[in-house]
Structure formats: C-alpha cells, structure tokens
C-alpha cells in the first residue's frame, strides 16, 4: 500500500496553507453518498 492523498477539509485552512506554500488549492466537491 503506497501513500495516499492527505486532504484538507476546511476551506479557510486550505487557503492559508496554499498561501504559505505558494500553490493553488485543488477543491474537490464530491458526492458524500
């Protein structure tokens, strides 16, 4: 089993992290079922 994606779950936290890392946010709206 390899590594998996570590998703953020809070928009504000993700935007702050993206700013610090100088990257864009990839926002995935998914079907929760």
């Amino acid at each position: 089993m390899g590594e998996s994606i570590v998703w953020e779950s809070d928009l504000k936290k993700a935007l702050a992290r993206a700013g610090a890392e100088k990257r864009p946010v990839l926002l995935d709206f998914f079907n929760p079922g």
Binding site: A18, P24, V25, N31
Partner: protein, 151 residues
C-alpha cells in the same frame, strides 16, 4: 475518483507536489451554493484568496487527471499574470501528455501566453498551425481559425 484515480501513485505524487488538496461534500452549505455545484465530481482550482481560475466536472481517469489539473494550474498562473509559470505548465502538458483531452486547449493557451507575455502575434499563428496539424477536429482548432490570417 476514490476507486480509481485518487489511489493511483502518479496522481498522489502530482497532487502532493503541485496543489493543496481540499475535499468538500457536495451538500455542504453555504459552499455548494457559493460555488454553484450541480454535479459531482466538480474540481476547482482556487488561488489563496479563494478566487476560481479553473473547473472541470465529471470523472477523470488517472491519465486525464494530471494534464487536466496541470492545465488548471496554468490558468491559475495566467490569471495572476505569471506568464512564465503558466508557459512552463502548458509546456509540461504538451510534452508529457500530448494525447490527453487537455492538450488542444493547452496549445491554444500556449499561443495566448506567447502573445500576452511578449506581444508576439506569431505565437497565435503557430498555435493555429499546431492545432490544425495535430488536433484538427478539436474545438480549439476552430477557435484558433482567425489566427491563420496573421502574418
């Protein structure tokens, strides 16, 4: 996406190197309404201020995911007037994924970026010529048609 695309090693590596990944349930309010989410999956590229630069709706295979999101990152840089970074992303799409669905739009965007960054109109004509040669049936070849008249 959970069963096929996200577990794929190349996708995990791409995401970890290039974006901050965020997952939100499509019934989560007010975000679902704010982003006008009508179908899943909807993938959106945002800058650090929350402004949207790209979106794609529907399943992406691992082979299509990387070039599609790379094109989105190119548009993110373009939207922030970082032309050289955008060109780098577009060139990566065309070098590593020339047969992907994102490739024709990447050629078009490469032409636009050449013009915007260096005021080189021939960049637009080159984009048309490449689209006509390599992706003649694509919508982007049609959109580039006026550039054939540049000389």
């Amino acid at each position: 996406m959970d069963a096929v695309t996200y577990p794929t090693a190349s996708v995990v590596e791409f995401i970890s190197k290039n974006v901050t990944p965020l997952r939100i349930p499509s019934d989560s309010e007010p975000l679902a309404t704010d982003f006008m989410i009508k179908w899943t999956p909807t993938l959106i590229i945002l800058d650090e201020n929350g402004r949207e630069h790209f979106r794609t709706v529907g399943f992406l295979t691992p082979e299509e995911f990387v070039p599609s999101i790379m094109l989105g990152i190119a548009k993110y840089h373009y939207g922030l007037d970082r032309f050289q970074s955008a060109i780098h992303c577009v060139d990566d799409v065309l070098k590593d994924h020339p047969k992907s669905s994102a490739a024709p739009e990447a050629v078009f965007l490469r032409g636009v970026l050449g013009y915007k960054s260096a005021h080189d109109a021939m960049s637009l004509k080159k984009a048309y010529e490449r689209l006509a040669e390599e992706y003649p049936g694509s919508e982007w070849a049609k959109k580039a048609l006026p550039y054939r008249l540049i000389h």
